[in-house]
């Protein structure tokens, strides 16, 4: 019984971008991009966010552009 619980399938994630019908990730949309960075300012992994690899690349580029323009932090030391 305990063995079966250890082998449980992870829950399938819903793609947050497809769900909202977002096709273009804008670096100016910080509210959207903040969903894809951790509270320390790091970009969240794809296995966490559940987006496609193409979307992950677009998100990464948008976050990096936003960081250059000081819209998002490079590091957040909230500790």
């Amino acid at each position: 019984m305990a063995k079966a619980a250890a082998l449980r399938k992870p829950k399938k994630k819903v793609n947050p971008l497809d769900k909202d019908g977002i096709t273009y990730i804008d670096y100016k949309d910080t509210a959207l991009l903040r969903k894809f960075i951790s509270d320390r300012g790091k970009i969240r992994a794809r296995r966490v966010t559940g987006v496609t690899s193409q979307q992950q690349r677009q998100i990464a580029r948008a976050v990096k552009n936003a960081r250059e323009m000081a819209l998002l932090p490079y590091t957040a030391t909230t500790r």
Partner: protein, 96 residues
């Protein structure tokens, strides 16, 4: 002609009212080169995520325009020469 989007961060000590007209004089570079300015959007004062040149705030402005690559490069060069421009970014939104 290509579609460009230019974002500028300006010194927060400027008067916000003077931003749009002074930005417009820079945009004459585009117009004389045969391009067209589609939209200028001054966001106003906004907190920076980190300090730039010891400043914690900046005045953001976004310009949408159609122009040749050379005209945009010249505009970007002239903006960078101005000391009240903290940062610029030129983006082609279709390039993704």
């Amino acid at each position: 002609m290509r579609h460009y989007e230019i974002m500028v961060i300006l010194d927060p000590s400027l008067e916000e009212r003077t931003v749009a007209p002074s930005l417009d004089t820079y945009l004459n570079v585009i117009r004389t080169a045969g391009g067209s300015v589609e939209k200028t959007d001054v966001w106003g004062r906004r907190r920076l995520a980190y300090e730039i040149n010891k400043k914690a705030e900046g005045i953001y402005a976004v310009v949408d325009l159609q122009a040749t690559p050379a005209a945009v490069a010249e505009l970007d060069r002239q903006l960078r020469l101005n000391e009240s421009v903290l940062r610029t970014k030129v983006i082609r939104p279709e390039m993704r």
